[in-house]
């Protein structure tokens, strides 16, 4: 195990520069959000069966576990959106020389959004609404 960890540290870690980290995070959050669309659309489909079916479906999401998942979802959306704006800005305004600084700015704003969202989700994690 330690041999493998050492191998990974020596071979993969040097590959992880700022650009690659941004690319990887954008891809991982993008795939996660795309996959999330399927259960999300299927669950709101309960609306077709009327108010009671939808309310039963929504009550099922009022658990601490879903609150954690929704909080992480906000983080994924915030990163993907902000980094997407960074990609567009770098493309349109010739900002390639500043792309690293912009990436750290994206991470700072993303962290701020995540912390701000804690006021919504931490209370639901600790004391879920019934």
């Amino acid at each position: 195990m330690s041999v493998q960890a050492g191998y990974l540290r020596r071979t993969l870690l040097p590959l992880l520069n700022t650009g690659t980290l941004a690319w990887l995070l954008h891809r991982v959050t993008g795939v996660a959000l795309a996959i999330y669309l399927l259960p999300h659309f299927l669950s709101i489909h309960a609306a077709r069966s009327g108010s009671q079916a939808l309310d039963a479906e929504l009550r099922g999401f009022a658990t601490p576990l879903f609150a954690v998942a929704e909080w992480l979802l906000i983080g994924a959306v915030a990163f993907h959106a902000l980094n997407g704006l960074r990609i567009i800005a770098v493309d349109l305004f010739d900002l390639a020389p500043r792309q690293k600084a912009l990436f750290w700015a994206v991470l700072v704003v993303c962290a701020a959004v995540f912390v701000a969202a804690s006021t919504l989700f931490v209370p639901r994690i600790l004391a879920p609404v019934g």
């Binding site: 040097p14 590959l15 992880l16 520069n17 650009g19 690659t20 941004a22 690319w23 891809r27 993008g30 795939v31 959000l33 795309a34 669309l37 399927l38 659309f41 299927l42 709101i44 489909h45 609306a47 077709r48 009327g50 108010s51 939808l54 309310d55 929504l58 929704e70 906000i74 959306v77 959106a81 997407g84 704006l85 567009i88 493309d91 390639a96 792309q99 969202a117 919504l120 639901r124 609404v129």
Partner: protein, 129 residues
């Protein structure tokens, strides 16, 4: 990512073949992405802040009938999110340089999933409007 740093680490040195440059998919991803920054901010604000902790049929239908242009919003939001997801996954798929038959299968699967999502989204929101 950056042309100068391609000797160090890039998708290419990780064994991937990134698509570069223009095309309608590239433009569409940027236009739909820009719109989604706005649309998702509205969506998440409406669901998690305005309706915080009391999301239900009643609060959703009351919001959708508040006289705002929610019909136009959803008519753009749902196709934009489905397109952006499908186009993004297609780009990732092409990075792995699939064989023609695999590529065709992937395209059919993405189209089928996209049309199913569009139909599901349409009938669900139609029921709430």
């Amino acid at each position: 990512m950056s042309p100068a740093g391609s000797a160090v680490a890039s998708p290419a040195t990780l064994g991937l073949r990134p698509r570069r440059g223009g095309g309608w998919g590239w433009l569409g991803q940027r236009v739909s992405g820009l719109f989604l920054v706005y649309a998702l901010a509205v969506h998440l604000w409406a669901v998690h802040v305005v309706s915080s902790g009391r999301l239900s049929w009643d609060t959703i239908t009351a919001r959708l009938q508040d006289g705002s242009a929610w019909t136009i919003y959803y008519a753009l939001f749902v196709p934009a999110v489905v397109y952006h997801a499908a186009n993004g996954l297609w780009g990732i798929f092409l990075d792995y340089d699939p064989a023609p038959a695999v590529r065709r299968g992937g395209l059919i699967a993405l189209w089928a999933a996209s049309l199913a999502l569009l139909a599901t989204g349409y009938v669900s929101i139609r029921a709430l409007l």
